[in-house]
């Protein structure tokens, strides 16, 4: 399940299976995509999936830097497991930890890390999932 799309504005988009993510990363790293700009997880509760989207680009090759390459992959909401890419791209470290905190995605294959953004004893629904509801104050003007 690997598709390559040319989107209108932000260059390339690749869709891969979650199990192939490490391979893909190695491949791209060899193509000089040397850093990760962002890791985004988007929650789709109706379809019971979480999309994990990596945006990677290059610093070393300034021509390649003009492209932001998007790698899309999908994990299930119940078992949001995916292999870590920290060995391939060290720059992903805090992005992955943030995604673990806020979306509850488990990045396997790396040592367990303390919580980054949330309090260390935080429990319950990861805050960025759609099922987490924000309590709002009453508005009294």
């Amino acid at each position: 399940m690997t598709r390559v799309l040319l989107t209108k504005q932000n260059g390339l988009s690749i869709t891969v299976d979650a199990s192939k993510i490490l391979e893909t990363a190695h491949l791209l790293k060899n193509l000089k995509f040397d850093h990760v700009i962002s890791v985004t997880a988007t929650d789709y509760p109706e379809e019971n999936r979480i999309d994990v989207i990596y945006h990677v680009s290059s610093f070393e090759d300034l021509e390649l830097a003009k492209t932001i390459l998007e790698i899309r992959t999908t994990v299930s909401r119940q078992e949001p497991n995916i292999h870590t890419l920290v060995a391939v791209w060290p720059s992903i470290e805090f992005l992955e930890r943030e995604t673990t905190d806020l979306m509850g995605i488990n990045f396997g294959g790396r040592e367990a890390m303390a919580r980054l953004l949330l309090p260390e004893d935080f429990e319950g629904e990861p805050p960025l999932r759609k099922s987490y509801t924000i309590r709002t104050e009453g508005i009294d003007a």
């Binding site: 040397d34 850093h35 700009i37 791209w89 709002t136």
Partner: protein, 386 residues
């Protein structure tokens, strides 16, 4: 090494030199063996709040991630939103956007330099830099009506036109700043004590910089000429003549010098903008036409929002934008499901990307280098936590 020989030092979150974060340093004598930043003390869940707000309401929200650098954050978000909406701003509005962005870059860099100076003990640099931000904040205030939280850039254009006398005032402020940069050189930048503190400290070499993905002036101080304004020019940057400031040393002092170089570049850019800003409308015609003719823009210096802005509905899709904010590359990713709220809003701020530099630049350095390197990274905790 046995455990008794090392000392775990918890710097922050309540510490004059830590900012809104905790730095965990494992020390062997005066040498740092291990360094781990612990952030999240000012996490405000901007991404989650954005999912409950309409697209225009998010404009002030994204600014709150980084108050010293609001214009660039505002611009980055609006560029992504405009790509979703499929709309472009008129040329004059593009010029005004970059004008504000560069004014903001100057006072944001001054903020960083001031804090950096204070962190290694030069209170004079702190006071001077903060005092010299004032002319630029005043300029921005005359343009936008607010001192820091401008909310100036809106989808399809900007909110206000250049006030009268702005050009003269701005030129005066710019030549003042050039004069002041020489003062900074004497008392801080080339002060022998500063040189001793910053030269060769917290070095990130070229290869490491690319590998750990630092951004902005910190990346350029390591010899990589990566600047979004050149790589993927947005708005009117292709028309402006400027250079990417690069240094090879990769140390704390190089980062300071890159910032000063960028202030000089911004000064020259603002001069160019003021010189060739075209006349014309400042909001896209598509929105201008929606406003009642009584309150049309031609009759006043600021635009009226069309009623549509209270519930903008972009078509289903995704958009990314990257801009060069003062602290580095700022990345926005918007997912729309066709409703009035974004389905997912992702914002990766430059400070968050620079956080990793703490872990790498400080290993093997001395305890006293922590503030020296911290300041040189121009790291702004609320921007990283979002």
């Amino acid at each position: 090494m046995s455990e008794e020989q090392t000392l775990e030092l918890l710097i922050g979150p309540q510490h004059p030199g830590s900012g809104h974060m905790r730095l965990v340093a494992e020390m062997d004598g005066d040498v740092i063996l291990n360094f781990e930043p612990n952030i999240g003390y000012v996490h405000r869940a901007v991404e989650k709040i954005a999912e409950t707000k309409t697209y225009v309401q998010i404009i002030p929200l994204v600014e709150r991630t980084s108050l010293p650098d609001t214009a660039n954050h505002n611009l980055g978000y609006v560029l992504a939103l405009e790509r979703l909406l499929g709309i472009d701003a008129p040329l004059r509005a593009q010029y005004l956007r970059i004008l504000l962005a560069e004014i903001n870059r100057i006072h944001s860099h001054l903020y960083g330099m001031g804090i950096h100076g204070n962190m290694i003990g030069s209170t004079t640099m702190l006071m001077w830099a903060f005092g010299d931000r004032e002319p630029f904040i005043e300029l921005a205030q005359r343009l936008t009506g607010a001192r820091l939280s401008y909310s100036y850039i809106i989808p399809g254009g900007v909110r206000r036109d250049l006030p009268q006398d702005f050009r003269n005032d701005a030129l005066k402020a710019l030549s003042y700043m050039e004069r002041r940069l020489k003062d900074y050189d004497r008392i801080f930048v080339h002060n022998p004590v500063t040189l001793a503190r910053l030269k060769g400290v917290g070095v990130i070499n070229r290869i490491d910089a690319a590998r750990i993905g630092v951004v902005g002036p910190n990346l350029r101080a390591s010899g990589i000429a990566y600047d979004v304004r050149k790589i993927e020019p947005y708005c009117i940057y292709p028309d402006l003549d400027f250079e990417v400031v690069v240094r090879d040393e990769g140390d704390a002092h190089a980062r300071l010098l890159v910032r000063i170089g960028e202030i000089e570049q911004s000064i020259s850019m603002i001069r160019q903008i003021l010189g060739k800003i075209p006349d014309g409308s400042i909001l896209a015609d598509r929105y201008l036409d929606l406003v009642p003719s009584r309150t049309r823009f031609e009759k006043r210096s600021s635009v009226k929002f069309p009623a549509l802005f209270s519930g903008l509905k972009p078509s289903k899709g995704e958009a990314v934008s990257r801009v060069e904010a003062s602290r580095g590359e700022l990345f926005h990713y918007l997912v729309s499901d066709g409703s009035t709220h974004p389905y997912r809003f992702r914002i990766v701020t430059p400070s968050f990307k620079n956080l990793i530099a703490f872990k790498h630049a400080l290993l093997g350095q001395k305890l006293a280098d922590i503030p020296a390197v911290y300041g040189s990274l121009d790291y702004f905790p609320p921007e990283a936590d979002r």
